[in-house]
Symmetry: D2
Subunit: 386 residues, 4 copies
């Protein structure tokens, strides 16, 4: 089962770490640490192998992947020796990371994206291509009546107005090209009624959104712990310092507020109430790719006694995200092969802001995931994309 | 269903916090924060109410409960206003906290303990009495052939030798008196083959051991999180500073090593390997009842990238333990009423070092607990203890 | 040397903690912990005793001091037993905390304030009165030509416009009444050319501003440490969570930005450069009077090696501020008695944003303070205020 | 002024980082970050330049310096690019790092060490050689009457008994060879009456001991801060996790207790009392060269209010130590050139356990250091060593 992985933002830190890692895994140079799909509890799923993955993507930057990979090695995100070892393979991928297409209308731009995807799939003779958005976070768009139905959307797209934010335009084009779509960012992506309609019509699955790599991951185990012990969380305040790729962008108040809201949602959902406190994201350029998140939780116990938990998470976002990108590519492809369409709510485990009415505690999400994986057994007649 | 709760160490911090809390709950003066049995997910169980609980116990100290409760209020463990409000009720309990019985042989001492338990049960016309050990932690005893069978044990107990450590002597007497036994400490308790034999013969349930109130509770959710994300925990080091009740005792190297080992066991069980690092317990008298635990976890992610998690837990052990003591009394009583005997492995949720071959991750323990609670429905003919 | 201490914001947390503490010290019920003036290194100064202090003030609130003190006891800021012990004395002070005077023009309002101060001084037969601003933080006012000279200011004050922010109006009135003035907040206070002119004319000293009680105190020793070790501080980010008195006010972006700037100034001054990063202040009501500040410092060492320091400060701002208020009252009074006028730059030790061209490292400020204290010996003919 | 720097433990992490750094500084490839002697406040001192330093040493290991340097680069202690750039120079130093001499008596071994030092000085035509101990920490030796006078010591050294611990044997030989001696470790070094006598007779200066690189450095600014604010430190507990070079050795209880005591001394000296709590050092191999130290300080403020400070220091000991080693070599050489002999108490700034009756607060030590540096002006007739 050969699988194309098309990365929107294909020259960014997450994308390049994913590509370097997949090449290293294929070459047997690294262990699949961080890859959830390689755990015994998911071994029943019939997934494409690391060796079956072929990478492509879109990116406005023209910096060669090898150069970007070397910068990531200097920053401590990936080992320099691995980058050197996969240099040739990386150069080969370079040609498949294309510049952003642009035309006079969004309908026409979507057509160019579809053409790139189809050409990629055909040239590499791929069984399917999964499109994954790992580009910078966008501001939340205003509501628009064109979002409500596919017909209205497609009409609007023929005009001069940029009706869709980029993440949603890519989702539209992916679905049009017969490709499942995954949103790893907090951007809009496929989360519009018009696009849900398109996915259903195309019988394609989609997943998202906002990869859960650090502070929210911790919340998704700590908040249930407080709830199950009947301890009353009074305040939960978080402070994130980051300097890497998406940091400057997230410091923009518009993007920041979307992200912060998504980061607190797990509390409401697992505690049954929203404690006081917010999440702050600060861009401090010199901090680099290793994010530091500090959280203070205050809670009341028996007879009202006040207690506190503080944690500091010092993690490398790109290194945490990259194996999940590979997991999502493999799982979404297998779901497609198994005939699944619509939102893949069983993948909530991977996301801060998961699709559907799903549990937000990690343990329940884990159970959903492992049960889902067990259903991903081979079909006799896998349905090719449109 | 009137329930006697007999506390070994009945004038200690945990016991007095439990008693004050139960009296306050009965009087409607406090919410059941921290009481797991009051959560909706356990509401199906047929448990004795807070108003059905009657407290008694053994303790070498003669300090009145009201005095001890006022000291706990000064230390910030319980509100002074609550202590004042339950003053009369507390005084009434005082008479049921008896001095430690002592006779020439352990057999004779056990007889005195049994007599105290029976007298307590009959005088208060209780349906049953659950004995809970909340006394100071003991050193681990050496292996002894007398532990291997009830017959050998009872023979040895007729001699002058103190064959059983106190916690096990209480477990023996409790079972002899027809009382279920719970060990909330890391001491030996009922965990000897001879006592398992006695519990089986008496058709009595028992539970333990070592109440999971802080650092280990966190480990039981964080370690599964790392495992489910396929992140490789390399080191896990913990440092506990505490000044309250049991602190000086735990600083004793013998008790300390038992406790520390029990605190790291969850890592081996949930991670499938034992990371480097140990748990240190330090007694710093001035720290008082609010323990501070600091943990550093270092782990490797994708392509070997090193990352870190640090947390500081600032908790009041007595306040965390007390509602669990009430939970265990209620659940163990209900299990007895429902005809259960032997180790209550489904109560692993409450313990650092649970009985039986059970999961150590909190989420799995929670599932066991809620499923267990659902079975605790009333029996038509509840079997009284021997 | 009887000394009136007139507190602007006399029913606030800092004021009431100061008053309760002074009364307790006078009664011999507490040790002078936190009072810098009681250290051996300052013992040469001829200062008024705690028993010589008489409190008065202005406050818009009418809540009795005893009620406020009990609330502070409930919040853990002062011991309930002390509040009970000084109850009568506290009630006696109550009458001297007056409502805010208000008239049609600021000139007239100033006249009312002066009258209150003079009446207080005369009724209690005080040698002098020091006015200390412990009211809520104000936004920074825009520049105004009226601030440039006393003549222009006094002309403007006769109009309807509120030309001065409240803190500066109090400073004006204090100086007019012959009282030294101390600003313990980041507000404007005496820091206007027109008021400096008035102080000089009245031969009165003044001090400020913004009491250094926590995070900035730490910066004032840690930043010099990095500088003296030639370590290159790259980023310094701070996050303050507070729920008490002034918290909601500081969360206001205008006040917040003034405060945050003042909190980073010590870095520029002691490091010789401004590292990346900012200070955030968040109001989380439930956090209460115990502020938690978390700081992350990243720095480069030999050959560029990156290292980190994190700290968490969990302090009670009112308890930290109150003894410094007493210190400042005593030192400013003694300076006045010794004939000093103009800005008391030697008191930089107490302030985040000290007056004058002074060192910002705590060690240098300490040296200035102790040398200053040594000059505060009795004068034969202490000059009474105008 | 050409200066030999003879490193006892010349192939260890601290030594190799020092050598690589000095070579890089000489070549203009790095800035002198971390070098205190390069600060403007010390610019008056007449010190040898980095280009004047010539390295030699003793070490039991035979691992080439280049190999060790590459291992340090892999561990993130020094940049790989710098190691590559100084490869040739490093190889040249290799020949001057000699194996440990050993003879039948300590007198004879000392003779071999002296011979190595003299040969090194003459071959490189050095003005002087400073011997610096950066070898592993030794256990504290028992008292010995031979330590009391030079005569008794030298008699004892002719016997078969190993009367001196290695650090003291090196100090003896250094002084015999006319070389000033610096102890950067907590070992005995020159701190014996017999060796003080020898230093005096040889008119040689010596300095020590135990380089202050992390946790104690912080204590030396934080403890004075608490003292100057009259805050009462109640407990100070520290926990050090380290995996690098000296870690396994320090985990040895004997060495550990010496180190821990030295680390708490600053508290007694600056606070005037010893708070409760201890310092623990744990060896966790996987932690590597970046040590993590966590400290909890609890303190009482005004009216007894309890507050807390926690910090985590994540530092690279070798990178923190190396520039100080270069500083000490330069300063000790200049002191010798200026005719100083005996203990250099003015260098307390650099040490955890400084020589003489000196202040332990960093600010006072800094003042001593800068005043000392100002005296290190050239002499017309620099006295050569014996």
């Amino acid at each position: 089962m050969s699988l194309g992985v098309w990365l929107v933002g294909g020259r960014g830190s997450v994308a390049v770490t994913s590509i370097v890692g997949a090449l290293a895994l294929r070459a047997g140079l690294a262990a699949p640490t961080g890859c959830v799909t390689e755990l015994p509890d998911l071994s029943g799923a019939d997934l494409p192998g690391f060796g079956d993955l072929v990478f492509g993507g879109h990116d406005p930057s023209a910096v060669p992947l090898t150069k970007k990979a070397e910068a990531l090695a200097d920053a401590g995100v990936v080992p320099a020796s691995l980058v050197a070892a996969v240099h040739t393979d990386l150069t080969a991928v370079d040609a498949d990371i294309r510049p952003l297409p642009h035309a006079a209308t969004q309908a026409a731009t979507a057509g160019l994206i579809v053409a790139d995807l189809v050409e990629f799939r055909e040239r590499h003779r791929l069984d399917r291509v999964v499109v994954i958005n790992v580009a910078s976070t966008e501001p939340v768009p205003d509501d628009d009546p064109a979002y409500e139905s596919l017909a209205r959307l497609e009409t609007a797209m023929t005009g001069e107005r940029q009706v869709l934010p980029p993440s949603a335009l890519y989702a539209y084009a992916a679905l049009r090209a017969g490709c499942p779509y995954v949103d790893f960012t907090p951007s809009t992506g496929a989360r519009l009624p018009a696009l849900a309609e398109l996915a259903e019509r195309q019988r394609l699955p989609y997943a998202g959104r906002d990869g859960k790599t650090g502070e929210t991951l911790l919340k998704s185990v700590l908040a249930p712990m407080f709830a199950q012990r009947h301890l009353e969380v009074r305040t939960w305040s978080g402070f994130n310092l980051l300097g890497g790729g998406d940091g400057a962008n997230l410091a923009d108040p518009a993007a920041n507020s979307a992200k912060s809201a998504s980061k607190q949602r797990v509390l409401q959902e697992t505690l049954g109430q929203q404690p006081q406190g917010t999440v702050r994201i600060e861009y401090v350029e010199d901090i680099g790719n290793f994010k530091t998140a500090w959280d203070l939780v205050t809670f009341a116990g028996f007879l009202g006694t006040r207690m506190r938990l503080e944690f500091t998470w010092h993690g490398c976002d790109s290194a945490l995200a990259a194996p999940l990108v590979l997991d999502l590519a493999r799982l979404t492809a297998a779901a497609h092969a198994a005939g699944r369409s619509g939102p893949l709510t069983e993948l909530a485990f991977f996301f801060k802001d998961p699709l559907g009415d799903v549990p937000h505690g990690l343990a329940d999400q884990w159970r959903l995931l492992t049960e889902f994986a067990a259903t991903l057994t081979p079909r006799s007649d896998p349905e090719a994309a449109a």
